[in-house]
Symmetry: C2
Subunit: 126 residues, 2 copies
DNA sequence: TTTGTTATTGCAACTGAGTTCTAATAAATT
DNA sequence: AATTTATTAGAACTCAGTTGCAATAACAAA
């Protein structure tokens, strides 16, 4: 339903995504903010910010939910489509600024595509 | 650890994958077999069959775990890499026999890639 | 066939990410 | 300042998946 009122909760969560373009898991956000925000509030505000095109979410390994900043999205149009990279060494998740070619599938109507890549990130590779 | 003994449980689960090449969620398998097998047993046997290269697993929408037959895999080598297609209309999941081009990412060491495509399947598209 | 070994199973309890419900609170409007 | 209602905290809940352990059954050896 989107964010309507500028509350302390919205500000606190937006702060977490201010610096850097790294994705953050909800578990991590709950851990960071548990003394200031209720778990339920965190889930709801993140959901609202996604509706507004401010953040986008995706599932990492272990089916954990992750959020990252959108770039160029709005309440009416989510256009920031890209693969996500989860490092198997340090666990960090990056949004990859890479053009994905959606494969031609004559037998199916493709609407969306989610790509999760695993491997070693810039810091962790030998 | 793989399957060691040919038990009733192994046979029952393999039967579910005998005909057709459609993926089946664990939830569906538990539902189908709950009168004959314990939930825990189902999870364990599926895991063993995956170790043996007989089945492969992946996560669909809602983070549910799905299994499908492998083709050309063995206990030592899982080589059956392909995208999965989940129909948003009927919910069915297909293994797509499509070559995926892993994008070049000079900043990361890519080990594996998981692709989940959403849309309408052959039966459900207008 | 009988016996012994141990892989496998069933069951109950547990885990934990995410959701739901409701009363209290606080942003925003009048 | 009073009113409206979006938002929040908290507790309880959901449910896919896991764990621990005692009972069972495959399978090989005798
Ligand atoms: Mn992203
Ligand atoms: Mn498959
Ligand atoms: Zn790393
Ligand atoms: Zn369909």
């Amino acid at each position: 339903m989107g964010v309507v009122r500028k509350t302390k909760s919205v500000d606190l969560l937006l702060d977490q995504f201010k610096s850097g373009s790294e994705a953050i898991s909800v578990i991590e956000l709950v851990d960071r903010l548990s003394s200031k925000l209720n778990k339920t509030t965190i889930y709801r505000v993140l959901n609202n910010l996604e509706d507004d095109g401010v953040l986008h979410s995706f599932l990492g390994v272990n089916s954990l939910k992750w959020y990252a900043k959108c770039s160029g999205c709005s309440k009416t149009k989510h256009s920031d489509i890209h693969p996500h990279f989860q490092c198997t060494v340090c666990g960090k998740v990056d949004c990859l600024p890479v053009k994905m070619t959606i494969p031609e599938i004559p037998t199916h109507d493709v609407k969306s595509i989610q790509v999760l890549i695993n491997g070693a990130c810039t810091n962790c590779r030998a």
